[in-house]
Symmetry: D3
């Protein structure tokens, strides 16, 4: 609780990312952050429900980190250097990064697997959102690296798609994502916090959580939902 107070005293942007990440993970839920973003007028920051966590422990399937975006192009042939840019971005990953892959509307690719997870984890990346299929799932689960995906398929990306750019704006799960934006994922889904709203969101989310806790207490105490909602204004 003391951490929360301190954080609310000082602007979060004076803090380092690891501290912010720990603060978010310990105090917030993705749903609460979505509500705050709604209040601030950001209505399209929650990724589509097709993106679900791979890790089976639903209390520890998510992550908090900063987006590293990757833009894919579908192909029907094997280009000269099929993995060139992909290898480049993987070798550039830093602690706290979240690899975010652009949307694959064709549904036939599987650009993430065990070796990618191995490199990402070793470099300190905290998670991956792959709006496409993934593979080598049992091994990824064994290493405990958090991945969200649209499906599972055993095929390689080679000859099906090629990464053409990274750290550019992309669409993932129908949300526009910029490199560096805060990505927060738990069992309910994934939310992208725009840079300009980050400070405000972190401050407001705490207040919303408190109201929900009080509402729950009053409801279990026997009050009507009408009375509780009129009192706290959250649902």
């Amino acid at each position: 609780m003391s951490l929360i107070q301190k954080t609310l005293d000082a602007p979060t942007w004076t803090r380092k990312d690891p501290e912010i990440f720990a603060f978010v993970k310990d105090n917030f839920y993705v749903a609460v952050v979505c509500d705050i973003l709604d209040e601030l007028g950001y209505h399209h920051q929650a990724m589509h429900q097709r993106l679900r966590p791979l890790l089976p422990d639903r209390k520890n399937c998510g992550f908090v980190g900063r987006a590293r975006t990757a833009r894919w192009m579908e192909t029907d042939y094997i280009p000269d250097d099929p993995y060139g840019i992909e290898i480049e971005v993987m070798d550039s990953l830093k602690p706290g990064d979240v690899v975010v892959h652009s949307t694959d509307y064709s549904g036939r690719n599987a650009p993430w697997g065990e070796l990618m997870s191995t490199v990402a984890k070793r470099n300190g990346a905290v998670g991956c959102v792959c709006d496409s299929q993934i593979r080598d799932c049992v091994k990824i689960i064994q290493m405990g690296f958090p991945v969200y995906c649209a499906g599972i398929r055993p095929v390689d990306s080679k000859g099906r798609a090629v990464m053409k750019a990274y750290d550019v704006p992309i669409s993932c799960g129908e949300v526009i994502v910029h490199t560096g934006e805060l990505i927060f994922a738990d069992f309910d889904g994934i939310v992208v916090v725009p840079r300009e709203a980050e400070q405000e969101v972190l401050q407001r989310a705490q207040e919303k959580s408190n109201k929900e806790n009080l509402s729950r207490k009053d409801l279990l105490g026997g009050k009507t939902l009408r009375a509780v909602y009129d009192k706290y204004g959250v649902l």
Copy 2:
């Protein structure tokens, strides 16, 4: 077993709901009830497969109860009283009720979460079918309230949809549901038993279950499927 005999002796409509619910839960499967409804000419009473149980224990993820229907309308603005009718129906829930939400074809709403589950459970409701997204899933699982949903997404309904009516006929999972109809859900899915067929279904289902048990026994004893089917006529 004695309970079953008694129930078959007397019309089920002379019994109270808790007794009927216990009888169904102890003796039937959703699949058997679907077969009986097929026999009686009701071919569209099983909800669509997109509706899956949230609770992880597949033997205890379902429920038996009576439908309380809720009709939603999508919105792209926040109406004056965004939760008014929703709060009304929640405060009106009685023991044995199942909250059944109308189909959300847009797939962008999440009208059910922890506080709703808290109120519903406290009021004695036995489950919820939400043909849309839900949120606060970890907490709902922790409280053990059975919910079936089409997906999981962290967004609030406010500004996305508003409940406009309840206890009216609705479509949920492509099945027309009327308030008061028997809703039976297990890991195989959800079936809606029309009022006028309820008595007949309860009587026939038991007989069908017995035949399946005998078929299984004969098959494991080495008989061909041809022989077993010719004998019992079930598959």
Copy 3:
């Protein structure tokens, strides 16, 4: 390791199926087999991601066996002998068979359940791929029979579809399957190995697996992905 060497020494087609199946299960992953098939020019052998395993143990949810194909037709009435051909193919199942059902684009049928699983298992079949819905799932899980399906729904096939042929070429999960082809399924999905490529695939897959193991080791040892990929050429 000695088994692998021996297998590579002699053509796999000189071996009996149980030996081949055990060899595949012990040494390969579905993803590796897909990569080899890609190399050999077979790009459409991995079934669609809508087909997922029913068994909850993700390390033991799959199988290796030979396809027995079944062709379904949708109906909106109950034909004279609704289960005739279905019973015939079930009674003809042999050890090592995998029942593979044709694609049900209507999504309303559920042609596989507990009794089918009981017969299949008793006859020695090792699995089922049902590109449609299935039912009686809790009981199938209890008996540990591996099934892959597109969804779960409690309805019977009677009056919804009828099997019209078996051991004919079918489409399942968007892959053309011929009776007798090797079907390999694990948590990543399902791959169909064409007869003419079977021998070649089994020989190459081992080599690919070795390279992946070496790549992982080097990556964990701190090398860049660039260096590791340049050395082993796999990703």
Copy 4:
């Protein structure tokens, strides 16, 4: 007008089909028949909007006749007699028949073309509803044979689907169709009139048409929609 009076005096089932067809074509619209069926409790008799007329003259693109249903099965091989049953039903067509093909959810078949249209027209059939693709469209338009289809594609059915039955209940455009039912199609779409409702529908539709004519007249005369609706009760 005198014909209408006579028809209302005597039950339509005492009349011959050609007279009924002419009566419907001259006096009704498909939309009016749908409204009457709604009133009588038949809410699912209008085919899906994917079925559109091929003939370019929107005032003469439809037909009135009696359904001859055809049930297709998808295939991925060429059966022994790929066209056997199809040829049988085509050679059995009689004046006033409408060939109604079952729904092709795969969307890859095109079971209707010029030669089929030639046979159908020569035998006196008045139209075709093909819930799949068709081909040879320019020639079919040239011969003026009315066809409704879900799309246009140049491929043959051979090796893609095979007709397995006819004159059985089928689903076409999401409507269950029985051989002999009245099929009425104009530019607005296609409606199927159940046998047991036919007489009642024909009697009521005329009255509804009259009210619409009076409503239009009053609206053009300057009355509010409120006043006109309160007076005639149709919209």
Copy 5:
């Protein structure tokens, strides 16, 4: 040409709507307006391609006017006053209005037909965008009232959907529309011009059109696309 000059001299908001509408219709294309909106950062103002014009003359199938929005809710029963709000908004239409119906994701409703078109036209409305089905199409074409729709189906809205609000923000063709916004439709589709951008759009569009005319001239004169694009910067 003189009108254009004058319009560019003075702010368009000093002008009356009929003058603005005529100016847009005479000088612009929907595609050019979309490009200008893109330049100004409005990337989601063109409605989805499922919305197509009903009127067959592709040079005169569209309109320019101001949105009057209507919000529908699906129903599975007939409410007490099924047409109440619908009649209210229809009777309130003024010259220059465009009726814009909210998105119907279920695809089963047809809330627009001949009588609605009759009232709308009589009241001076210039068009309708119905992101759902419509009916009575031949008569609407005969009266020459411009409608854009997602499909054609002969069913009434009664018992399928009910209008619950109008002049509220809605989603139509995946674009958020507010009452009063400029709606411009031609054969290429429909664009919604946000109020705050209207003045700027009208000024810039003219310049873009000029460049396209010059580009076309140079291309037909034999220049390469490279040279022409480098000169005018439009494509």
Copy 6:
């Protein structure tokens, strides 16, 4: 007819493209070519039915030519040179070329319009297949340039997609297309003739057409379809 004889005498590959194109256009239908490709074992050469001709004259809406493929990548930002490669391929078009755009699964782009059509036509290209949306349709129809598209939408490609390669294998309408392959389009759709089958297809198609003509004649002469099919073997 004499031209046909000559063509059958000598291998078509000894002929120049303009002669081949004229021969195909004058003597064949797309449907017949599909049947021949089926016979030769090429079952996936007809593009998806979503691709429809833009030109309104259904007898002259198509073309015969050789594919020039273009590979697009979706983007959510404007790259440095948004049109660079696109301009390059447009300026490289030669007489007889058909511009074939890769499949746009997102459905939000419109990479073809009036200026592109102007350049293409001026350079002698004979058509365009754009498996995406197009715009400026009225002007394209006015210039009579044949285009097939999946839809019509007024938006520019800039900021939505960028061409990244051309003359590489692509997927268009679910068919793999290689630069240089024969593309034949009429009102029934579009077929891609693989290089290695071209000669054989041209020779066989004529024979098939003759059989269809004879079948039609016999049918109109009163023979049963059974008799006619037994005689000529085509349907």
